[in-house]
């Protein structure tokens, strides 16, 4: 068989037609068939929280990856020449500047983090940067001062490959559940969120509690508590074991509850009991990835150092940290948590606090000590005598991390290694922490209103209108003007109604009045009719009846449904019951609600703060 060998070109992508899958999939399916001839493959994707408009969604989605985010380890081999703290790499068959991953390996290129012994992949060198040279390319290595490849067991190395290692792990929240698989022991359940209750049911979903952190770590030979704490240090979740035997692994375990404890409610002594020593410099050691690799970061809390005038250093080992960026992030987190871990007190002999549980944040009020703050319950003991003792920490966001961070990590620590403290280039790591608080104060104002008082009338068959302009005004000091639109006058007493004092007449259902006399009357309403009989004593007939010698004043209340400039139409009698309307009417008054009647009343406002 004849093989055709392609001529060298600038492109170094050598895509095998088989056994390789670098396709970017637009759709994630339940069954992915590629690749054909290898039994394992890694599918890259970006796993992120989606957002809709301005709202961050609780949904997690998978996005297509960006190929520049990772570097594939290529099968190409490079020969090298060892230099002081550097290697000069070139292609195996030429001395010019080599190519890697489709680009020239000059000082602008993205350098892969590791160089692998072409024959033994466990022998790796950590790269630092590239320097342009006339022949090949010079790759600077870290931590090589005074040492050659032979000291690192690479004396027989002839060629290198360039690339990076990749760990395949699990989402931390899945990892925790895997750790407990078939090892539940006395636990009733292992969950990722607090038990659902009515007030949080609508917002709590499994998705919202899953972490977005992935971790590849061998936990064989580790105890489950140590392993869980190690994972928690990585994703800053916290552990919680509730009174019902459920193990909960969730991001925000402390919950602020509406309870108060302290001296006013019965409490004994208080002593200060910080979780950890106060540190303003953290030296964090991670897990190295190469023979010349040292993950060690020193972060200073410069604000605290200046304030305290002294440097207090704490050394922390975290083997979930595998590069300096992660180390920096974690060390900063430790510094932040260290501040929170200081405000811890022990408070004993609390009464009526039997229902409180660890993980709850209560208001702690101790006037004699001048303490009135929110405190998180870290540890508590309820005695059968009814007394409770607490270990309380000043509650601030992230307190969960304090407890994990400064918990026992001996079980998971890596072997001690010599650290190269002589660095060619010194990087100073400084940290600053800014804080602000968010508070809510609520007030509730209530006011009671009485029901409508039925209006008193001489005859229960009359229903007063309660529509504009005759809406009942309640008890008012004042007096209605005769005209509906006229200004009120200051007085205490009855109102004054629009009236017609000139003679009017009634026929059928119509009252005829003087021209334009109906001005100012509403288009429908009630009228009081007054008429005078002279010279005779009226002994029967209409009621509401007064007599005095030869003069008789009669009163009737009628309703009308329409008006013209000279008439009220649709007139029917309301009172007296069964009465008649006389033909001649002396005076007509608009029947209106009185201004001084007491109707709906409002009590004083009562305010209480919540």
């Amino acid at each position: 068989m004849t093989y055709s060998i392609p001529a060298p070109t600038n492109a170094t992508y050598v895509a095998r037609s088989k056994g390789r899958s670098d396709t970017i999939h637009a759709v994630i399916g339940s069954l992915i068939e590629e690749p054909k001839f290898v039994d394992n493959a890694i599918h890259h994707a970006i796993y992120e929280t989606s957002s809709v408009g301005d709202t961050t969604s609780k949904n997690i989605k998978i996005k297509k990856p960006v190929s520049s985010d990772f570097i594939m380890t290529h099968e190409r081999r490079y020969r090298y020449a060892e230099e002081d703290s550097a290697l000069r790499l070139s292609h195996t068959n030429r001395n010019s500047m080599p190519f890697f991953n489709g680009q020239l390996l000059n000082n602008n290129a993205t350098i892969a983090p590791l160089l692998f012994d072409a024959d033994t992949h466990a022998l790796r060198l950590k790269t630092d940067r590239i320097i342009n040279t006339e022949f090949g390319t010079r790759i600077i290595l870290t931590n090589m001062r005074g040492k050659g490849l032979e000291e690192y067991g690479m004396g027989d190395t002839t060629h290198f490959r360039i690339g990076q290692i990749m760990s395949v792990g699990l989402r931390t929240t899945d990892l925790i559940q895997k750790l407990f698989k078939d090892s539940l022991h006395g636990l009733n359940s292992v969950t990722l969120s607090l038990p659902i209750k009515p007030s949080n049911a609508s917002a709590t979903s499994v998705n919202s509690k899953h972490s977005k952190t992935f971790l590849a770590k061998d936990f064989y030979s580790s105890s489950i508590p140590s392993a869980v704490r190690a994972v928690a240090r990585h994703d800053h979740y916290s552990l919680y074991h509730d009174r019902f035997g459920n193990f909960i692994y969730a991001p925000k375990m402390f919950k602020v509850v509406d309870r108060e404890i302290g001296q006013k409610r019965g409490a004994g002594g208080i002593i200060s009991d910080p979780i950890t020593e106060a540190a303003n410099r953290i030296m964090l050691e991670g897990k190295s990835q190469a023979v010349n690799d040292t993950i060690e970061i020193i972060i200073n809390d410069v604000e605290m150092q200046k304030k305290e005038g002294v440097i207090r250093q704490m050394r922390v080992s975290d083997n979930t940290v595998s590069n300096k960026m992660a180390a920096r992030k974690t060390a900063n987190q430790y510094l932040r948590l260290n501040r929170k871990a200081q405000g811890v007190i022990k408070s004993e002999q609390h009464a009526r606090s039997w229902d409180l549980q660890p993980g709850e944040v209560v208001k702690y009020d101790a006037p004699s000590s001048g303490i009135a703050v929110n405190k998180a319950i870290i540890e508590l003991t309820h005695e059968s005598t009814g007394e409770s003792s607490f270990q309380l920490a000043s509650y601030e966001s992230g307190l969960e991390g304090v407890i994990n961070a400064f918990a026992d990590d001996k079980d998971m620590s890596q072997d001690d290694k010599g650290i190269d403290r002589t660095k060619q280039i010194t990087t100073l790591e400084k940290s600053g922490i800014g804080r602000t608080q968010f508070r809510v104060r609520m007030a509730m104002v209530t006011r009671t209103l009485s029901v409508n008082t039925p209006r008193l009338t001489a005859d229960a068959t009359i229903t007063h209108t309660n529509a504009s302009p005759d809406i009942h005004a309640g008890f008012i000091v004042g007096h209605r003007h005769a005209d509906m639109t006229g200004a009120s006058r200051g007085a205490i007493g009855s109102g004054y109604s629009k009236r017609i004092t000139s003679a009017s007449s009634f026929t059928s259902t119509t009252i005829t009045v003087a021209t334009d006399a109906t001005d100012g009357f509403p288009t429908a309403g009630n009228l009081t009719l007054i008429y005078i009989n002279r010279g005779s004593l009226v002994t029967s007939g209409v009621g509401g009846y007064q007599s005095g010698g030869s003069l008789t004043y009669s009163v009737a209340t009628v309703a009308y449904t329409g008006k013209s400039p000279t008439t009220f139409t649709g007139v029917t009698i309301l009172a007296p019951n069964g009465g008649t309307i006389p033909a001649n009417i002396s005076e007509i008054k608009l029947l209106r609600p009185r201004g001084h009647e007491v109707r709906t009343t409002k009590t004083l406002k009562k305010m209480r703060t919540i």
């Binding site: 209750k197 007030s199 402390f254 509850v257 968010f438 508070r439 809510v440 006011r447 919540i610």
Partner: protein, 115 residues
Amino acid sequence: MPILNAVKRRLIETLAGLVNELHIGSDGTVASSEDGGVRTLARISPTVTIIDDNSILVEGSFNTSHVYTTPIKEIYLQYKDPATSEFVPIYRADIQPFTKNAQNEVRFSFILELD
């Protein structure tokens, strides 16, 4: 190292735009920061006023037309995206039961403060 006032003002302005629903509800469970909802009896759009660079005032009232046989036991603020119906719980308080009928009116005031 303090958080600077300028960004607090910006946060307050952002927060003012985020409070757009005030609910009264009937669930008297003790309020905690883990809460994420309410058993709603009624909801209104509260009036939000920026008081100063650090705080906003949120007010809402329920007049005599709000009549419920179930007592009010909780108050709740949230942001709800009108386009997507996504919501973000902001604040919940459990209160002493209070029966809202036609003979009373109630006003709730909240001051949300960045310290």
